[in-house]
């Protein structure tokens, strides 16, 4: 059992926002999805105030040990999400965390208020990787900008408010401190690193969205550094993520200070990755010296 800002989780492994669509997965895998749901909590894909189609394809580019995505946050918008998706998500056997993003403080406020009013929602996660259209600043890259956002929206809900930090910041620790001071309940990191790919034929940007976000094992070491730095600087519980494939990767993030760990890209390779990572982690943690299991052949 893991306690994460009031939520009781059966184990520390949850999904990264936007990397598992429980409703689609139920179509693909049927009811066994509910019987063996791979995560201890479900985090929704980012919900915005108005519906979004997302970016034009191509949206993916494979990298050494990872991929770039330029999905562009397609979603039904707040009203559509609350009416159609949330009731279905409520059937999952785990707490539902709704990830939201707004392009202004007012938008975020509306999202937080509306989601908070719904009993199916166990917690909110704020995606602050986008620019505030009013100030031009990326909400999560500037400590003051983030403080002002949280000052506006924190009072609007009693539910846990998790802030998901962007890794594309000069000083992620300063942003984390600002989030703590402004009343965040927890932090999650890392979101994707800004990256790009060119079409080998034309030399033009491959992705419809021109740039995209890098995820997967390629970012694991960057994630670990940021989680370690943030956990050393704040008291808030932290959800660590970035390139987790194995129990050992989750153990690293926990050793760096994370309370819970999210699996993202690895679920694309193995839809039951969350489950597998949780089992491997338990095995590692159970052994007095977890690490021995990692290196099966000490000389």
């Amino acid at each position: 059992m893991v306690e994460l800002c009031g939520l009781e989780l059966a184990h520390p492994i949850i999904n990264g926002s936007g990397t598992f669509d429980a409703i689609a997965a139920r179509r693909a895998f049927g009811e066994q999805l509910l019987e063996r749901f791979p995560f201890a909590a479900f985090v929704s894909k980012t919900v915005t105030l108005t519906p979004r189609e997302g970016n034009p394809p191509p949206r993916l580019w494979e990298l050494a040990g990872g991929l770039i995505n330029s999905i562009g946050l397609p979603n039904k918008g707040l009203a559509g999400f609350l009416a159609e998706d949330l009731p279905q998500l409520a059937e999952l056997p785990v707490p539902v965390i709704v990830n939201v993003m707004g392009f202004s403080r007012q938008e975020v406020a509306e999202l937080v208020q509306a989601c908070s009013a719904r009993p199916e929602v166990a917690a909110l996660e704020l995606n602050v990787s986008c620019p505030n259209v009013e100030t031009g600043l990326v909400m999560g890259a500037d400590p003051d900008e983030l403080a002002r956002l949280l000052a506006r929206v924190r009072p609007l809900t009693d539910k846990p408010l998790i802030v998901k930090l962007t890794p594309n910041a000069s000083d992620v620790v300063a942003v984390a401190r600002a989030a703590q001071d402004a009343g965040a309940s927890a932090l999650s990191l890392i979101n994707t690193l800004r990256g790009m790919a060119l079409d080998p034929r034309s030399g033009e940007p491959w992705l419809g969205g021109v740039t995209g976000g890098v995820s997967g094992p390629a970012v694991r070491a960057v994630a670990l550094a940021q989680v370690h730095a943030v956990c050393g600087a704040v008291q808030l519980p932290v959800i660590g993520m970035g390139g987790v494939q194995r129990g050992r990767d989750a153990l690293d993030l926990i050793r760096a200070g994370a309370r819970a760990v999210a699996v993202g890209t690895e679920s694309f390779r193995d839809p039951a990755a969350g489950d597998r990572v949780a089992a491997e982690l338990e095995l590692l943690s159970a052994s007095a010296d977890g690490a021995q299991l990692v290196s099966p052949q000490p000389f």
Binding site: G18, T19, F20, D21, I23, A24, A25, R27, A28, F29, G30, Q32, L33, R36, P38, K45, E53, G54, P56, P57, P58, R59, L60, W61, E62, L63, A64, G65, G66, L67, N69, I71, P74, W206, G208, G216, P217, T265, S267, F268, R269, D270, P271, A272, D275, R276
Partner: protein, 267 residues
Amino acid sequence: MTAPLGRRGARITARERYGAYVVLRCADADGPTPAAGQFYMLSCAAGWGGGEGERPFLPRAFSVLRACPASAPLELEFLVEDVGPGTRRLSELLPGEELLLTGPFGAGFRPPHRGRRPLLVGGGVGLAPLAIWQDQLGPDTTALLGFRDAMHAPGAELMSAPRVATEDGSAGHRGLVTELLAAELEADPQAEVYACGPPAMLEAIRALCAELELPAQLALESGMACGFGACFGCVVPTREGYVRLCLEGPVLDAHLLETAAVAGAGH
């Protein structure tokens, strides 16, 4: 058919070359029998990575070429053309080695409308979903197959009595398979077209069928990371907006599409 939750291993039981193609046969002990037009996400248990550009990393999408439910365990066949690091590694697999798979995924072919005669049209590896579909519709079902050249033409052996076009004239009609199709449709206005192949070919077929007001079911490709709706990466534009090809497809009704030339698909 819904898929087992999670990735599973499947031992390679046979590997055969057909010119530029490799057919892999594997034993899928834990999987259900797939429908024609469904696909799987494949990777190798060992050595998946370290190729060109340190790839592959993600699994690769493959239509099921053939399913042998009579065999126990269920055997699946896949048709692989080496076009990059993922297909290269897969086409090197030897009997006894292990494939990792998830699936079957997606929506396959629907039976022809009442009174319509199914007509299968494929280009290159696009023959894969047509082969299993022909298995179900019957060996008499007309199949038109297009190949680039003599290296690829042996793919025709994978279907029953296909009519072949090759771009270099090395086998069958010299030219495009769409030329065979045009002639065929002229002769038979009751056809329902089932097609799979490169984007330009599918688009030509879509346009032709639209003009003749014939129903067509097109098995499309797009870049896929997951195959089960998780990544939103595989969308194709339709008259109803973007749809995730892995969920709503890979087989789509032609009339849903403004174009079958999908950005980033094909090679």
